[in-house]
C-alpha cells in the first residue's frame, strides 16, 4: 500500500522541519492529506516522540465522518490530553455529538474515549452522554457505559455516587444482556475495592440467580469476572452454596484455562459449606482439570501450578495418581521446572516415591546449576516426608555427591543436615560426608558440616578434627558459619569428645571477644561462656541435649493465609504467595500515613534500611531485631537476661544467609539453634514474606557499629 510506504519513508528519513510538514498536512484543504498527516503523527507517537505540540492542529480534525480517522484523533487525545487540559474542552462538542450518533459503534467510541481523557474539566460534559449510554438501546453501548462509570468513579468518586451513576450501574446487574451484566459486575467490583464504603457490589440471593444465568451466556472474559465475584460472595445457606457449586462446575469444561481456574476459585470459596458427599464429588471433579493445565502455554502453566500448590496444601492427596504429569520436560523454561519440582514434592507419597526418585536422579546430572540444586533439595524433602524412602534417598544423594560437580556436592552436604536431624539413626553417613569437607566453599554446606560435626562428634572421631580445623580458619568463615562453629565447638567440649585437650575453646572465646564485631556472635559467645561457668551439667542440658528433631522441611502456609490466597486464586497475590499490601501500596489514605510515619521512625533507627524492611518491622515479623542503638546495657547483661527468660525455649532463627528468600529449607536449618531443644520451626513464610532474608544484614549493620562504639 502506497500510503504505508510513505509512512515508512517518513520514519526512515526524518527531514528537517518535519513538524512543520506535519502541521501543514494537518490543516491541508484535502481530506486525504489530513488523514495521511494524522497517521504520521500517530506513527511518531508510537516511536515515542513527543508530538504534543501539534495538539491544536490534530484536534481540528476531530469532526470527521471517517471512523478510522476519528479513532486516530481520539487515540492522540487520550495520549496528550494531560499536556493540554484546556484545549480538551474544544473536543467536547464532538464527543457529545458522537454520543448521539445513530451508529452504536460511534456512540460507544465517544463514551469510551471521554472516560479515558483524564482531565477534571471534562467531567461535567461526560455526565450527560454517560447517563444516556447507560440507558442506550444497544447493549454494545451499555456495556461500554458500564465500564465508563468505573472510569468516572476513578476521576471523581463524589460526582459518581451523588449524581446517581452508581445506582444506574447497579441496575445494569439485571440487564437482559449477559455481556452488559459482566461488565457492570467488573465495574462495580472495582468501585467496591477502591471505595468499600460505597457498597457498590451488593450480591444477595436474588442477584445470585441473575449472575448464574448470565454465566452461561456471556463471553469467556465476562465469565471470569462473574466467577470472581461469586468467589467473594458468602452464601446465606447451605442450599444456596450447593446451588452455586452445581451451577459453577460445568465451567470446568471451558476451553479457557483462566475460566477454569476462576471456576475452581469460586467452588473453593463455597466448598466448606456444602455437604460432605458433594464436597467429595467436587474435589474429584477438580483433579482432571488441574492435570490438564500441564498442556497450556508455559506462562499460564506457571500461574496454574502456583495455584495447584495452594490447592494441594488444602487437599494433599488430590493428585497422587497423576505424579508423572508433572515430570519436567527437557525444554521447559527454568521457572516451570522449579514449580514442577515443588509440586512433585507436594504430591509424592509412599506409593509413588520410587518413580520420582528415579526421575530426580536424572535431573541431578543436568546442566542448569539452579535446577540441579533444587532437584537435590527435592530428594531431601522426599526423604524427610516419607520415612520408608529415606534409605534410598540417602543412597541417591551420596551417589550424586560421589560423581557430581562441586555445586552438587555442596548441595548434598547442605541438605544432609536436615536429614540427620529428622532421622538421627542415619548417623552412619556422617563419616562419609566428612570426606567432602575440603571441596566445600560456600557458607551453606560449611555450616551444615559444622552443625553435623557438633552433633555427632562424640561418635565420629573425624568430626573433632574438622571442628578444630574450622576453628583455625575461623576468621575467614562467613558470619553464619562462625556462629555454627562456635556452637559445634561448645557442644564438642561439653560432650567431652576430645577428652579435655584438643579443642581450645577458651582461645575461641577470646578470639571472638577481641577481634569480632558481629554482635550476634559476641552475644552468643558470652552466653555460652556464662552458661558453662554456671555449671557443666546445666550447660549440657541446655546446649548439648537431644538432637534437634524436625518433622518436615516443606513449608505449608498458615491456614488463614492459605485460605486468603485460595480466595484470590490465580491473582497476583496468590501467585507470589504474598499478601497484597506487601507488594502493592494501599490506596487508603490513613494507611499511607501510618506507613509514612513508620518509615520516618525507622529511618531514625537505621538510616540505611529500605522500604521493605520497614514494612517488615512495622508488622512485627518475627526475626532477630536490630539491637536498638540507644540502649545502654552492655551485651553481657542482655545475653544473660535472655538466657534466663529463654530457659530451654527456642530463640528466633536468623535466616541462614541472603538466600532465605527462596529456599524452602533454610528456615529450618539448624543455624543459631544452639539453645533450641525442640525442633520448633520458625515460620519460613514469615521470614520469606518481605524479603527480610536479603534485608537483614543491611538493617543490622548500623546497629552493630553503634555497639562497637559503645564498647
Amino acid at each position: 500500500m502506497s500510503l504505508e510506504r510513505r509512512i515508512r519513508n517518513a520514519l526512515q528519513l526524518p527531514k528537517k522541519g518535519e513538524a512543520y510538514e506535519l502541521q501543514a498536512g494537518l490543516v491541508s484543504q484535502y481530506a486525504f492529506e489530513r488523514k495521511d498527516a494524522i497517521q504520521r503523527v500517530i506513527a511518531q507517537m508510537t516511536l515515542g516522540k513527543d508530538v504534543s505540540g501539534l495538539f491544536p492542529d490534530v484536534l481540528k480534525n476531530i469532526a470527521t465522518h471517517d471512523i478510522e480517522q476519528k479513532k486516530l484523533v481520539y487515540l492522540y487525545l487520550i495520549n496528550y490530553a494531560k499536556s493540554h487540559p484546556d484545549l480538551c474542552i474544544l473536543a467536547v462538542n464532538t464527543f457529545v455529538q458522537d454520543s448521539e450518533n445513530q451508529n452504536p459503534l460511534v456512540r460507544a467510541l465517544a463514551i469510551r474515549t471521554m472516560g479515558c481523557i483524564r482531565v477534571d474539566k471534562i467531567i461535567p460534559y461526560l455526565m450527560e452522554p454517560l447517563r444516556r449510554g447507560l440507558k442506550d438501546e444497544s447493549p454494545y453501548v451499555r456495556k461500554t457505559a458500564a465500564i465508563g462509570v468505573s472510569k468516572l468513579h476513578d476521576l471523581d468518586p463524589q460526582t459518581c455516587i451523588e449524581d446517581g451513576f452508581l445506582s444506574s450501574l447497579q441496575e445494569l446487574i439485571t440487564d437482559p444482556n449477559a455481556m452488559v451484566i459482566a461488565n457492570a459486575v467488573s465495574a462495580l467490583a472495582e468501585i467496591q475495592e477502591t471505595n468499600p464504603s460505597s457498597e457498590a457490589l451488593v450480591i444477595n440471593s436474588e442477584t445470585i440467580s441473575t449472575l448464574l444465568t448470565a454465566l452461561n451466556e456471556c463471553s469467556e472474559w465476562g465469565r471470569i469476572s462473574l466467577l470472581s465475584s461469586l468467589a467473594h460472595y458468602k452464601a446465606s445457606s447451605v442450599a444456596e452454596a450447593e446451588h452455586i457449586c452445581e451451577r459453577v462446575t460445568p465451567q470446568f469444561q471451558h476451553a479457557n484455562t483462566s475460566v477454569v481456574l476462576s471456576a475452581i476459585r469460586a467452588i473453593l470459596a463455597h466448598i466448606d459449606s456444602v455437604n460432605q458427599e458433594l464436597q467429595a464429588s467436587l474435589v474429584s471433579k477438580m483433579a482432571p482439570s488441574l492435570v490438564s493445565f500441564a498442556s497450556t502455554p508455559p506462562e499460564v502453566q506457571y500461574v496454574a501450578f502456583r495455584s495447584i500448590n495452594l490447592i494441594l496444601q488444602k487437599y494433599p492427596t488430590l493428585l497422587s495418581k497423576h505424579l508423572p504429569v508433572f515430570f519436567c520436560k527437557y525444554n521447559d523454561p527454568p521457572y516451570l521446572k522449579v514449580e514442577k519440582l515443588n509440586l512433585l514434592v507436594q504430591i509424592v507419597d509412599f506409593d509413588n516415591y520410587e518413580a520420582l526418585l528415579q526421575e530426580l536422579k536424572e535431573y541431578a546430572v543436568e546442566v542448569d546449576i539452579d535446577f540441579v540444586r533444587r532437584a537435590i533439595q527435592a530428594i531431601a524433602q522426599m526423604a524427610i516426608k516419607i520415612d520408608t524412602a529415606t534409605t534410598k534417598c540417602i543412597e541417591a544423594l551420596l551417589d550424586i555427591a560421589s560423581v557430581g560437580q562441586d555445586y552438587a556436592v555442596e548441595e548434598v552436604v547442605s541438605v544432609m543436615k536436615d536429614i540427620v536431624r529428622r532421622y538421627p539413626s542415619t548417623e552412619t553417613t556422617v563419616g562419609y560426608l566428612m570426606k567432602f569437607f575440603p571441596r566445600l566453599e560456600a557458607p551453606e554446606p560449611r555450616l551444615s558440616i559444622a552443625f553435623i560435626s557438633g552433633e555427632f562428634c562424640d561418635t565420629n572421631p573425624e568430626c573433632l578434627s574438622i571442628i578444630a580445623s574450622m576453628i583455625e580458619s575461623f576468621d575467614q568463615e562467613s558470619p553464619v558459619v562462625q556462629m555454627q562453629i562456635l556452637t559445634a565447638a561448645v557442644k564438642a567440649k561439653l560432650k567431652d569428645a576430645d577428652n579435655g585437650n584438643q579443642l581450645n575453646l577458651d582461645g575461641l572465646f577470646k578470639k571472638i571477644e577481641k577481634g569480632n564485631h558481629n554482635p550476634d556472635l559476641r552475644d552468643r559467645a558470652f552466653m555460652y561462656s556464662r552458661i558453662i561457668s554456671a555449671g557443666i551439667e546445666i550447660a549440657k542440658l541446655i546446649i548439648a541435649s537431644d538432637h534437634l528433631h524436625i518433622d518436615t522441611i516443606t513449608p505449608d502456609l498458615p491456614v488463614r493465609l492459605r485460605n486468603e490466597f485460595l480466595r484470590d486464586l490465580a491473582c497476583l497475590s496468590a501467585v507470589y504467595q504474598k499478601p497484597v499490601y506487601s507488594f502493592l501500596e494501599s490506596k487508603e489514605v490513613d494507611v499511607d500515613k501510618v506507613f509514612l510515619q513508620a518509615q520516618q521512625e525507622q529511618k531514625e533507627l537505621a538510616v540505611e534500611s529500605s522500604d521493605n524492611g520497614n514494612i517488615g518491622n512495622l508488622l512485627d515479623i518475627d526475626f532477630s531485631d536490630p539491637m536498638p542503638a540507644d540502649e545502654p546495657t552492655g551485651p553481657k547483661g542482655s545475653a544473660f537476661d535472655d538466657l534466663l527468660s529463654l530457659g530451654s525455649l527456642s530463640t528466633t532463627l536468623p535466616p541462614v544467609n541472603g538466600k532465605a528468600l527462596d529456599t524452602l529449607t533454610s528456615s529450618s536449618s539448624p543455624v543459631g539453634s544452639g539453645t533450641t531443644t525442640s525442633g520448633t520451626q520458625s515460620n519460613p513464610f514469615g521470614s520469606d514474606l518481605f524479603g527480610l532474608g536479603t534485608q537483614e544484614p543491611k538493617v543490622r549493620e548500623p546497629a552493630s557499629h553503634d555497639l562497637v562504639d559503645l564498647l
Binding site: 487515540l75 479515558c116 472495582e190 463471553s219 506462562e299
Partner: protein
Amino acid sequence: MASSIHFLDLKGKPLLARNYRGDIPPSAIEKFPQLLLDAEDESSVVPPCITHDNINYLYISHNNLYVVALTRHNSNAAEILLYLHKLVEVLTDYFKSLEEESIRDNFVLIYELLDEMMDYGYPQTTETKILQEYITQESRKLQDSQGRPPIAVTNAVSWRSEGIRYRKNEVFLDVVESVNLTVSSSGRVIRSDILGAVKMKCYLSGMPELRLGLNDKIMFDATGRNPRGKSVELEDVRFHQCVRLSRFENDRTISFIPPDGEFELMSYRISSSPAKPPIWVECQVIMHPGSRVEYSVKAMSRFKRRSTANNVEIMIPVPDDADSPRFRTTVGSVVYAPGKAALLWKIKQFGGGKEFAMRAELGLPSVKEQDSDNKAKRPIQVKFEIPYYTTSGIQVRYLKIIEPKLQYPSLPWVRYITVSGDDYTIRMP
C-alpha cells in the same frame, strides 16, 4: 485487569503501547529490560510475573517480541497472560505473522484492535471472526452500515453472525490425537498421554444447531447402553465457548451453534490408559573418547498392520564437536545436521508392525574439550503422523445438523489422524 499493554523487541525497545488506565508512569516500562536482566543475574529462574516498585509486569514472548502487561492491582494473572496469548493469536490471524515488521506496518490497525479488545483493562471481544467484521484494513464512512458492531459482539451467541449463506452446506471434522511420550534412559515409559482435539471446518448457512456423538464411556455408562465396539474414557474435556456446558454436565450431550469457518470444538486428554507408543526407538551408543562414536538405532512401529505412519523423523542428538559422519540404514535417509548437533533419520512411509535399523559412526576430535561432560542432555525426538488412525480408539458416532428455518441437507465429513505431540522423547542412555 491490565493497566497498559506494550510490545517490545528482544532488547526491550518499545514498539507500540496502549495505556488503558493512566495509572502507570511511562517510565515504568523502560525499567522492564533491566528488571529481567537483574532477575536473570540472580538465578536462572525468572518467572513470567515480576513485581517492582508497586507495579507488576506480566509478560510472554513471541517471535522475538515481548508482549508485556502492566498492572497496579492484585489482578488475575491467569486472565492477563491468557489474554496476551489471545491478543497475539488475533494479531497473527490479521497479519499472518506477528513480528517487529508487521507491528510497524500495521500500527493503525493494531491500535484499533487494542481499543476494541480491551476497555479500561478489562478484556472484551477476542474472537477474530467477529472482530474482522467491523475492524478491517479498509476505511469506512460513518453512515455505512458495515461499520456497525455486529450483533454477535454482545449476543449470547457472540461467536457467530446471522445471515450466513452457503450454496453447499458442509462440515469437516478432524479428530487429531497428539501422543506425548517420555521414555527413560533405561527404556521404561515414564509418561505417556494423548491430547486429542476435535477440529471443525464449518460451512453451514443460518444458525444451525449441531449435536456431536462420541463413543464416550461415561455417557454409555450413564445411559446404561452397551454399544458394540469399544468406548473411550475421556479424562478431561474442554470445549469451545459455543458448547453448552450445563447440557454436557447433565447428560454429556455435546450441543452447540458453531462459529463460521475453522475452529477447535473440543480438546480432551487421556493419560491413564496404557497407550501403546505408536513408534518405539531404541538406541545404543558406543563411545570411543578421542576418536569416534558409534550409534545403533532401532525403530519399531507398534500400530496395526493396515495403517501407515508418514513422514517419520527421528532426531538423534550427537556431540556438537563430532565430524565426518557415516551412516547405513535399511530404509529412509539419514542426514547430519551440525546446526542442531543431531542426526536426522527420515522415513517417508513406515508400515505397521515393522522394524527398521540404522547405524551411524561419527568422528570425534582427539583433544577433548574441558567441560564437554557438562552439556545439556538432549533426548531423541520423534515426529510422525498416522492418518486414519486414533491411538485411543475414539470415534465420532454421529453429527446431527439441524437448522430449524432453512432445513437444508448437509454433509459431515470425518477424518482421523494421530500425530506426535510436542514432547515425544526418548532419553539417551
